[in-house]
């Protein structure tokens, strides 16, 4: 890896933008991602043509997880563009086959899952619900309904702010057209999923609905584990960066949803700034500050609009599984007072996902913060820890 001038961890929009801008200054750039190919989640199997073209001058290694701090050993700048994952909240029936994430279903569809003729309920929160419902329709699914937990009034407030972002209004209009006739409920959420071998029926607030698939996701959680391992600091759960996207760890920059949730445009501009700044092109980077500021504002209104309502923390029953790796139930963990205590006493969070799924849920349910991060950042063959 010493032949590269820059290493980017993550090949989503932020990582792609960072790598392309850096490569266009003449730098040799390596992008590592644990997904099979570039695109991240939003552009999985679907990198827009102009970025795909620019990416031709960058080496992208898919299926390549960064598991520890060896990425710093090459003495070249590192940009963290590790993105975000979905937050899941436990409700009775959420472990049934056919209950997937909203971003999760999007990723599966973009990976070749054929949803033609399937009846899908899309539930949870955020603009992702609309984008995914639209994708599902385009791919031939029947969207039974969309259930948004946010209130109608906060959504109206959000819509009123959209004039600041004309491109989002256009996107919204296109989405609206593609979703004509799909029932859209605000102040509505999934209370329980039913089925034997897989989900077949869902009780939402106030009504029940048959389905083949339930997509439920409750916003995004930044993938900060690698940043923490490298010694970056966090603020409000996101990686702290300065105006040049530089973290508090020497030689490490961060861009995209790992620094804040705010959509693809925000990730792109942060990535571009990081790619330029990491190579010392500060004047060029500065030219992008204005564009970034606008998208930071958009991110802030997203957060306000789609804040999770308290009722969602009361859906799990005592016997509802919270930790899916170890099958630890709500009643097993509710006695304890911290994530670490629950882990040591019940095995909650000890499984293969390293507590990523239950950790984000428990943060919301109990206010527990995640524990320390140690290598490997994700489960990996023992041989990966032996090689030096």
């Amino acid at each position: 890896m010493t032949e590269f001038d820059l290493i980017v961890a993550g090949a989503g929009p932020a990582g792609i933008a960072a790598a392309c801008r850096a490569a266009e200054t003449g730098a040799k750039v390596l992008v590592l991602d644990n997904n099979p190919a570039a695109g991240g989640q939003i552009w999985r199997n679907d990198v827009p043509a102009q970025w795909a073209e620019r990416l031709r001058h960058v080496e992208v290694r898919g299926g390549c997880a960064v598991i520890d701090d060896r990425v710093l050993a090459h003495g070249v700048p590192v940009i963290l563009a590790t993105g975000a994952r979905e937050r899941f909240l436990p409700f009775p029936g959420w472990t049934l086959p056919g209950v997937v994430g909203v971003g999760g279903l999007q990723a599966l569809v973009k990976s070749g899952f054929d949803v033609r003729g399937k009846r899908v309920i899309v539930a949870g929160t955020g603009p992702l619900l609309l984008a995914v419902a639209s994708l599902l329709r385009k791919r031939g699914a029947s969207v039974a309904c969309i259930a948004e937990q946010a209130s109608r009034s906060s959504l109206l407030g959000f819509a009123a702010e959209l004039w600041r972002h004309p491109s989002k209004i256009l996107q919204g209009a296109e989405l609206g057209a593609s979703l004509l006739g799909v029932p859209y409920f605000t102040d509505c959420w999934v209370e329980e999923a039913y089925g034997d071998e897989r989900v077949t029926r869902v009780r939402l607030r106030g009504f029940e609905q048959d389905c083949d698939l339930l997509a439920a996701g409750y916003g995004l959680v930044p993938n900060v584990e690698l940043a923490l391992l490298l010694g970056c600091t966090l603020h409000d759960g996101f990686v702290t960066v300065d105006a040049m996207q530089r973290t508090w760890r020497e030689g490490v920059w961060a861009a995209g949803e790992v620094t804040g949730i705010g959509g693809v445009e925000r990730s792109l501009v942060e990535g571009e700034i990081a790619g330029l700044a990491a190579l010392g092109e500060l004047a060029e980077a500065r030219k992008l500050f204005g564009r970034r500021a606008a998208w930071h504002g958009f991110g802030a209104s997203l957060e306000r609009t789609f804040a999770l309502r308290d009722e969602l923390s009361t859906l799990a029953r005592p016997e509802t599984i919270v930790c899916r790796c170890e099958d630890i139930r709500y009643q097993d963990i509710s006695r304890w007072t911290s994530a670490r205590e629950a882990k040591l006493q019940t095995r909650c969070g000890m499984g293969l996902c390293q507590g990523r799924i239950c950790g984000a849920a428990n943060e919301f349910l109990f206010g527990w913060s995640a524990g320390s991060v140690r290598p490997p950042v994700c489960a990996a063959p023992v041989s990966d820890l032996i090689e030096s």
């Binding site: 520890d68 701090d69 060896r70 911290s338 670490r340 205590e341 040591l344 006493q345 019940t346 095995r347 000890m350 499984g351 293969l352 390293q354 140690r374 290598p375 490997p376 489960a379 990996a380 063959p381 023992v382 041989s383 990966d384 820890l385 032996i386 090689e387 030096s388």
Partner: protein
């Protein structure tokens, strides 16, 4: 109300440190009729109790070490039927692995030692060893199976012991033992004990562990290389040894390393790699297993490899210095401590473990 007055009164015994040693001491003191409070600022069993392997083993390093580990192991076996499922009790035995004929000689020496003291052991030749542990590499000389050794998950046991004891747990930091109101204050702070009791020879000795995904049957006994004591874990300096354990979950716990003078709890990638290379040298298939987590912990080591159990000065007592045997010896430590406090005759001689031996 009687209850209220008892809450405000100083207890007979205050135990500082909620690891498994502190928890076992709390339970035995309660059983001896003493009133007990336990101080733990963090979570119960969150220090070396959580970091260790949870191997209950009769050790033959010295007569005193054997006496305490053997006595304690018997207490564990007696306790086993009562333990909750989360204690993950697994009676897998310890299999000491001899790589060559020289180490085979150690197998026979160990057999003689254990048999003379009534511990059931079996010598395995090369073929029997390969049958007992098919994932060991070929060419091993044999091994010694200590049949009754077992494995537990200590943090759950620590909490369970406290639940049995019904003691008050104070979630506060103790900055000075002299400030703790109690007839007797027991320092059970493990590797941190010397911070509260100046002058005791307890030093932290760092260790690393790796746990894998569930691979049931991959390893069947607690496996330890016989080079463990003679070469790999010398008295000073960094060392690694092949020390691999089956968990009741089917997971494989891979150790071990020992480092003096390492104060930070970060993973040391070099020693971790050395440790795993050593393990893969004995069990090549380990390389392909999926590692989920790595962590470190600090053993409370003493110069003579024996714990400090008993009075120190004034109201201050010690229950620390258990090094890598704290899970095994926790139960015996509790009995000894409670007997010494109440003036009963301990079940095994307490002299070898009395802190007085360490006075300058």
């Amino acid at each position: 109300m009687l209850g209220d007055s008892r809450v405000s009164a100083a207890p007979d015994v205050a135990i500082v440190g909620g690891g498994i040693v502190g928890a076992a001491c709390a339970l035995e003191c309660r059983r001896a009729g003493l009133s007990v409070e336990l101080y733990e600022q963090s979570v119960i069993g969150g220090g070396a109790t959580a970091a260790g392997m949870g191997h209950v083993v009769a050790m033959d390093d010295s007569e005193a070490q054997f006496a305490l580990t053997h006595y304690s192991s018997n207490l564990w076996r007696a306790l086993a039927p009562e333990l909750p499922a989360g204690a993950e009790y697994l009676p897998c035995g310890t299999l000491w692995v001899a790589a060559d004929e020289e180490e085979m000689a150690e197998v026979f020496r160990k057999r003689a030692f254990y048999e003379a003291r009534g511990v059931a052991v079996e010598v395995l030749d090369a073929r029997q060893l390969a049958e007992a542990e098919p994932h060991l590499r070929g060419g091993m000389a044999g091994g010694l199976l200590v049949v009754a050794d077992c494995v537990v998950y200590p943090p759950v046991v620590a909490q369970w012991l406290l639940d049995q004891a019904g003691v008050t747990v104070r979630r506060e930091e103790v900055r000075a033992l002299a400030d703790v109101p109690a007839g007797v204050v027991v320092n059970a702070m493990g590797a941190k004990a010397a911070r509260l009791t100046k002058g005791i020879p307890v030093a932290p000795r760092k260790g690393h562990l790796v746990i894998t995904d569930r691979h049931p049957g991959f390893v069947r006994h607690q496996l330890i290389e016989l080079g463990y004591l003679k070469s790999a874990h010398s008295a000073s300096g960094d060392s690694v040894a092949f020390n691999v354990q089956p968990r009741k979950t089917g997971q494989v716990l891979i150790g071990s390393s020992r480092q003096y003078g390492a104060e930070n709890k970060e993973i040391d990638r070099e020693i971790l790699a050395r440790m795993l290379r050593r393990a893969a040298g004995y069990m090549p298939g380990i390389s392909a297993l999926t590692a989920i987590r790595t962590w470190t912990g600090f053993r409370a080591s003493t110069p003579d490899k024996l714990p400090l159990i008993g009075p120190w000065e004034g109201r201050q007592w010690l229950a620390t210095g258990h090094e890598g045997l704290g899970i095994t010896t926790s139960l015996g430590t509790g009995r000894l401590l409670a007997d010494l406090i109440t003036g009963r005759t301990p079940p095994i001689p307490a002299e070898p473990y009395l802190p007085a031996r360490c006075r300058p």
